[in-house]
Subunit: 225 residues, 2 copies
Amino acid sequence: MSPISIAAPPSATPGFDPASRFPPGFLEGFGVRDLPGGYLLATPGQPLDQVFIVRSGRVRVYLASEARELSLAILEPGDVFVTHTPTFVQTLEPVTLWVLGTREFAARLAREPSITPAIMRVLGRILSNAVALVEDLAFRDVPARLARFLVRQAEQRGVMEADGCLLPLRLGTEDIACLLGTTRQSVSSQMNQWQREGLLTRRSRHALLIHDLPALALRSLASSG
Amino acid sequence: MSPISIAAPPSATPGFDPASRFPPGFLEGFGVRDLPGGYLLATPGQPLDQVFIVRSGRVRVYLASEARELSLAILEPGDVFVTHTPTFVQTLEPVTLWVLGTREFAARLAREPSITPAIMRVLGRILSNAVALVEDLAFRDVPARLARFLVRQAEQRGVMEADGCLLPLRLGTEDIACLLGTTRQSVSSQMNQWQREGLLTRRSRHALLIHDLPALALRSLASSG
DNA sequence: GGTGTTTTGTCGGCTGGCCGACGGAAAGCC
DNA sequence: GGCTTTCCGTCGGCCAGCCGACAAAACACC
């Protein structure tokens, strides 16, 4: 999950084994935890430091003020995160996680230093994503953010077809708006604008057909400052 | 340097030894590098991965679009950073750094696992700061961001006096605007607004006297969404 | 202390995008 | 199929804050 995303790894092909992402034996020591959908597993208030990896299901990481929410990432199987940051973390559906306390994790690293470089890469990627998110908010207007979002989604999940790139979306308009730091209305109107221009077609509520990907990419360049 | 800041450690008291922040012997292996003012030591393009620590002088970390710049942090002696992120890093004045390549750094961690927890704490703090920055941009309007900035500065560097808290500022209006993701004009007018309300006095170009810190803190709460 | 340069204060116009409201469409549910 | 509920599209009003422009002040340098 991408343009606005703080999570660790690159894209996930559907139907793969999340454990295959990690060195053999890496997951030993992690606890397995099953959670129901809608479960809030971390808040800014009580930071029970934990490293977790999503095994199945989706998890949303977000910030909230009194009036609004901003999704930082929607984690999918294989994604890594640390509850060491002042964010809310909530399951979107029933979820299975691998979990380990940060202290134990650090001790583990100390015992098996060979995995340290891999971890540093993951952390570096998380930080890079956070920086990219700041860049998006500071420099790009809503159309550009939305275009970027769609292009990235297409790169990750798009399926080429005769008349364009079919993009299965598991998010509603409101969810997208929340990822982009804007409103339902702005996303909706922009999307329909592009539909009228022939850039894309709303195939169904959860599928989008992008006809002109390059044109979208063009609109994803900075234009708000 | 704070409300908008991605850098690692808490505040620095002036005239301290930056090396004292780290475990004895930690800095062995680091190279020492002297750079002139205005030197650009990293850009998003070529990520020569390095871990560096500021020994003296100030360093600015920022993002740039064609039309605008956003400062992520102004690093001071003792601050740690990684050029592993797609940002610009530039010296503001002549600077001395301790530098080590990320590969060597990781190897070092692998050899001396005892310092790993400390490093994870530093990375966690950097990430938390980045998240806080996103929060600022997404949820707070300009007055709130500015108020927060001033309050934090006061906490870190302010000197209590009879008629308030004297705040030595090494930044101009434009620099502050750049840290807050806004414009010179907005900062200026808001500051003078508060001056008229008696909250603060512009003592000189580089010094500010804050009379009513609590009132400022009140204005630093979210109000743009 | 005069003179050029940089920094700051202020104003008005303009606009992106938020907000509230409401009708229509799709999807779930029996 | 009918019903309910959730989701989506669109419009008009409104406002924060950016932009350009210019004057005044602070500072630096001789």
